[in-house]
Symmetry: C2
Subunit: 355 residues, 2 copies
Amino acid sequence: MNTKIKWLRDKINLLNMQGIIISNPVNIRYLTNIEAEGVLLITRKENIYITDGRYIEDVNHTLTIDDEISVYNVKDVSSYDYENFFSFCENVGFEENYITYAKYKQYMQQYKVNNFEETDFIIEKQRVFKDEEELQKIEKACEITDQCFSHLCKFIQIGMTEKQVADEIGKFYQENGAEGNSFDPIVASGKNSSKPHAIPTEKKIELGDPIVIDMGCKYQGYCSDMTRTVFAGTIPNEVRPIYDLVLKNQKQVQNDLVEGASLKMISKMVENDFRLNGYNLIHALGHGVGLEIHELPYFSLKNDVFVKEKMVLTNEPGIYLPNQFGVRIEDTVKVTKSGSINLTKSDKNYIIVGK
Amino acid sequence: MNTKIKWLRDKINLLNMQGIIISNPVNIRYLTNIEAEGVLLITRKENIYITDGRYIEDVNHTLTIDDEISVYNVKDVSSYDYENFFSFCENVGFEENYITYAKYKQYMQQYKVNNFEETDFIIEKQRVFKDEEELQKIEKACEITDQCFSHLCKFIQIGMTEKQVADEIGKFYQENGAEGNSFDPIVASGKNSSKPHAIPTEKKIELGDPIVIDMGCKYQGYCSDMTRTVFAGTIPNEVRPIYDLVLKNQKQVQNDLVEGASLKMISKMVENDFRLNGYNLIHALGHGVGLEIHELPYFSLKNDVFVKEKMVLTNEPGIYLPNQFGVRIEDTVKVTKSGSINLTKSDKNYIIVGK
C-alpha cells in the first residue's frame, strides 16, 4: 500500500474510526495521484475508488499495484454494495468541510453507517508536511518561476500594459515545462501596486512606476509562489525607505522560520516593526504552498501555528499605501531541521526594468 | 423591493418559511446583482447582505434604493445580531445543495433558528425562466459568439494548432465587448473531434480534418453556447452522412422545442433516429444557459422536464466515433409562446475553412 494511504489508515485507527470517505479531489490527488471526479473509500478491508466511465481508463493508468486501490464504475455499484462497504464499521469519517449538507444526507442513506464522524481537515493537516517527492516538485516549480522572472526583467518595457506582462508570465510557464500559472498573476504598476490583490489592467507602465509582480506556476500538480517589486526606469526616492523596510523584515522572517517558532509571534514582530516606522501590516505574512496555492498553515495575528520541518510556506511582507504605491517581496520557503531555505532565489535588491 | 426578491418572499411564504439564508453566489447575483463574498438573509422584516471590508464599497455601488437591502460588514455583526435576525421565524430555509455540512452546523449555532428547512434548488428552479433583461444579455452574448465564429472562419488556417484557435476565441471575446469565455472553448480536429469534451492540444489542423468548435462568451454575467463542426480544406466523404444526420436531428429538435414538449421524449426521438442509422446518443442533448453555462433544466433520457416559454436551452446533438471523428452542432435557443428561436444564428451548412 502506498505510504500516504498507510499513514491515513494508522491515523484513523488512532481516532477510533474503522473507515473514511474522502471526497475532496485535492486530498484524493494527494493520496493516490488520481485526477478525476469520484470518491475514495478506505474501508476495513479495502481501498476503493468510485468514479464514472469518463475516467476509468485514466484512473487505471495512474494507479500502480503498490497503491492497492480497487476501481469501481459508479454505474456498477449497487445499493447492496454501498451498504456493505462499511459493514462492521462503528465510526466512519467524512469531510464535513468539503461535502454539502445534501451530500451528507445522501451518504447517510447510501452507506447505512452507524456513526459518521467529522474529521476536521485530517488530510489537509498532514499535507502541511512535504515528503521528498513533493519537495522536488515544488523546487522545480520555484526554479521555473525564477527563470520566468529573469525573462521578465528583460521583457518588460515602459509603455507595455500590465495585462501584456501578465500574459507573458502564463505563456512562459507553458513553454518552459510548467503546467501553467498556479494562480492568476498580479502585475500592478504605479498606484495599482497599493492593492494587495490587484488584477492586471490595460494601464501602461510608466517611468518611475514600482511594479509588484506576484507569480507562480504548477509543476506536476505542485505550486510555487513569488513576488518581486521592480522599478520602471528609475527608483522614486519616496519608495526606497519602504522597499528597504519590507526587505529587512522579509529577511528577518526567513531567519525566524526555524523549527518551533510561532507564526503568530513572527507576524507580531513584523507588525511591530512596521508600526514603529509608521505603517500597518494589512495583509497576512504568508501561507502554506503545495497542491494548492493557499493551504495550511496560515500566518495569523490571532491563531497560532508552530513551525516544523518539511513545511513549505510563503514569506511575503508588504506595505500598501492607498492611492500612492505598494511594495511586497515574497519567497516560497522550505523549513528544514537546520533552518529555512528559500526555494525561489531571484534577486531581491533594487531591480530596474525597461531601461 | 426588486421583483426577484419580491418573488422569493412570496415563494417562501407559500412554503411556510419566514426567512431564508442564501449562500450560493450565483443565486445572490441573480437576486441582487451583487458579485462579492457574502450571505443574503431574507428575514421577516428586512433583506440583509453580510460581506466584509473588501467588498462593502463595491456592493453599495451595485445596489439601488429599489433593492431595499441593508449591507452589513461582518465584523460589525455581533452574536446577538445573528440570534435576532430570524426572531419569531419558525422555519428558515437554507441551501442544502450549496453549503457544507460544517457550515450548516455553524449556521445552526449562530442563528439559533428553530427549524432549518431544505429548499431543494428553489432559486435555481426559478432561474430557468428568463425575464426581458436577462434575455437581452443572453442575446448579446450569442451575437458576439456569432461574430467570433465569422472571424474564425477566416482566421483558421491549415497548420495552425488547436490551441492557437482556442486562444483566438478568448481574445476575440475580450476585444469585442464580452467579459471573456463562458467556458474553456473546445477546438478538436481530426481524431480529437471524437471526444465530446476534448481539450485543445498542440495538434496542427490538417487537410480534411473535421474541426469541432464549441465556444461561448459572457455578457454582463450571462452566457452563450454554440458549436459548429467545420472542415479544413475539404470534406471527407465518410463524414458527410453523419454531418447530415446530426444536422437533421438538430433542426428537428428545434422544431420540437415548444411549450409543453418533454425533454425526455425529444431525447428519445433523437436517440432512436441515431440508432436506426447505426449510431448511439452518448451525450445529453442539451442544458439550460443563463448566469451559469450549465444550469437547469437538463435534457435527459431518464428524468423528465416539460418545456415552457422563457426557458433558454442548448440544442446540441452529436455523434462521436472513437478514433475516427465526431460531429456536433449546437445552438442556444429561447422558447417562446409560439415556438423556439435560435439565438445563435451562424450558418449550419457545410463550412470549409483554411482554403
